[in-house]
């Protein structure tokens, strides 16, 4: 039954309920707060986020006193699940083995990390390069000279 008057509690309840205007003003206030706060986007190719340690970017072949650490044992090629590594090993006159050809197909590689783990000489590691782009498939067959400095494949824009 409808009463002819409102109790204090009813009036308070009505005041607590959102009306028509206050939610609109609240919305405006919220967006204005967003306007004043700092933008979260970054300018990608020029600004970059911190990359975590242990990131699996494209591979790096390590060198020691200007020679490859790799002795061409072929373990990495053996353990590689998608068979992305091709190694041809040769021997110098003084009996030192070295990889004459060391090629990684970055398109086949699944970045599982087995090659890094298995290497007895710790000659291969992952770099933090994650945005290697090109137009031709052949460009992704990286030779040992390319793998020395994978940072040259960082996307520079254009």
């Amino acid at each position: 039954m409808k009463k002819g008057y409102y109790s204090i509690e009813e009036i308070r309840e009505a005041l607590r309920k959102p009306g028509y205007v206050t939610p609109l003003l609240k919305g405006l206030k919220y967006t204005f707060k967003m306007f004043m706060s700092k933008d979260v986007t970054i300018q990608y190719p020029t600004e970059r986020r911190e990359i975590a340690d242990g990131w699996r970017g494209i591979h790096r072949l390590l060198k020691e006193s200007d020679k490859f650490k790799c002795v061409g044992c072929g373990l990495c090629a053996e353990v590689c699940p998608p068979k992305a590594i091709t190694i041809v090993t040769e021997e110098t006159e003084d009996g030192e083995r070295f990889p004459a050809k060391f090629q990684i197909d970055e398109l086949r590689c699944i970045f599982c990390g087995f090659c890094v783990e298995v290497c007895p000489k710790d000659a291969i590691e992952y770099s933090k390069v994650y945005d290697f782009v090109d137009f031709e498939k052949e460009k992704f067959l990286l030779q040992k000279e390319d793998l020395v400095n994978p940072e040259k494949y960082i996307f520079q824009g254009k």
């Binding site: 919305g27 405006l28 919220y30 967006t31 204005f32 967003m34 306007f35 706060s37 933008d39 300018q43």
Partner: protein, 328 residues
């Protein structure tokens, strides 16, 4: 000779205003994208020029080179005329808006207004109504169900919001005692109309939003329901004409509300034109701000709001204003 100088001044003034308006229209797209980005914690256009300042020019060049498609079953003449109608009507409004006081050139007093006609209020209503025909005809001529529904909604919106807008402005006219914009601005030299007409100001902003089809009322081009509404079939320069008309409306509605309620070009210290631009851009900022805040209403909610709330309130506003003006 005098006649020639007069004519030269008029021509130069016209050119300045026209080019300035087009620049403002171009850069209001940049302004809006930048601000919307800021509101959404993004950066907005950054690549073309310093902080994306060349973006409008890049957009213009792009739209010039786009393919211009006319649907096979479209009403070709109307299809071509509609965007022009929309754009020209949007541009024409600026002619009656005073954007500064008087300046002295060659010993002459030049009023900074293109056409100081004494029925400016009627003129802008005529142009606004005519401009809505751009949407309506464009939607009708495209032979597309989405654009037709968009056009219907445009006309529904125009009919329901033109009325409270007109009633609100009539209250301003009552306060100022003149139909001419320069007269209304002169009447606000001491006290702005926003003080005398606070309700009218809010009503004018709401109706203005509906009038220029902006966000809570952007019925003619509801992206999510109508796939862009009345301009689905438009491409290339025809589309960008609609687009420019929309941004031109954004500026002109800000300029009109500035003129009617915020004292036009009056203000201390700075020259009148600067004040006019500051106020208009502040209003534009508000329009973009609310766009980033509010969702779109449903068509029946908009109609109900227009007829059952805005119309009675604006009528009451008018009646109260009239009574107060008669008594005092």
């Amino acid at each position: 000779m005098d006649f020639l100088i007069d004519m030269a001044i008029t021509v130069v003034l016209n050119l300045i205003v026209f080019v300035g308006l087009l620049l403002i229209v171009a850069y209001s797209t940049w302004f809006e994208r930048k601000l919307l980005g800021d509101f959404q914690l993004r950066l907005g256009p950054m690549r073309v020029g310093f902080h994306g300042l060349m973006q409008p020019i890049a957009d213009a060049i792009k739209s010039f080179f786009k393919e211009d498609v006319i649907p096979e079953k479209a009403d070709k003449i109307v299809f071509v005329i509609a965007p022009m109608l929309s754009f020209v009507c949007a541009l024409g409004v600026i002619a009656v808006i005073p954007f500064g006081g008087t300046v002295h050139i060659f010993g002459r007093e030049v009023k900074l207004i293109l056409a100081d006609i004494n029925v400016s209020v009627l003129y802008i209503f005529a142009l606004a109504a005519l401009g809505s025909y751009g949407c309506v005809l464009g939607g009708y001529a495209s032979y597309n169900k989405y654009s037709l529904v968009g056009a219907l909604r445009a006309s529904a919106l125009m009919i329901s919001y033109e009325l409270p807008f007109a009633l609100t402005i009539i209250a301003v006219v009552l306060v100022s005692g003149t139909l001419s914009f320069s007269g209304i601005v002169d009447a606000q030299a001491n006290v702005w109309n926003i003080v005398k007409q606070p309700v009218g100001f809010i009503l004018a902003i709401i109706c203005g939003l509906a009038e220029i089809n902006r966000t809570p009322f952007d019925m003619p081009e509801t992206e999510s329901e109508l796939a862009c509404g009345f301009n689905v079939e438009y491409s290339s320069m025809k589309f960008s004409m609609f687009f420019m008309a929309e941004y031109c409306h954004l500026f002109t509605i800000s300029a009109i509300i500035t003129t009617l309620f915020l004292g036009g070009w009056h203000g201390p210290f700075l020259p009148g034109t600067v004040w006019f631009l500051i106020k208009s851009i502040a209003l534009m900022y508000f329009f973009i701000w609310e766009r980033s805040t509010y969702p779109r209403l449903r068509i029946d909610q908009i109609m109900r709001f227009g007829w059952k709330f805005l119309l009675p309130v604006s009528l009451a506003n008018l009646v109260v204003t009239a009574v107060v003006m008669t008594i005092f």
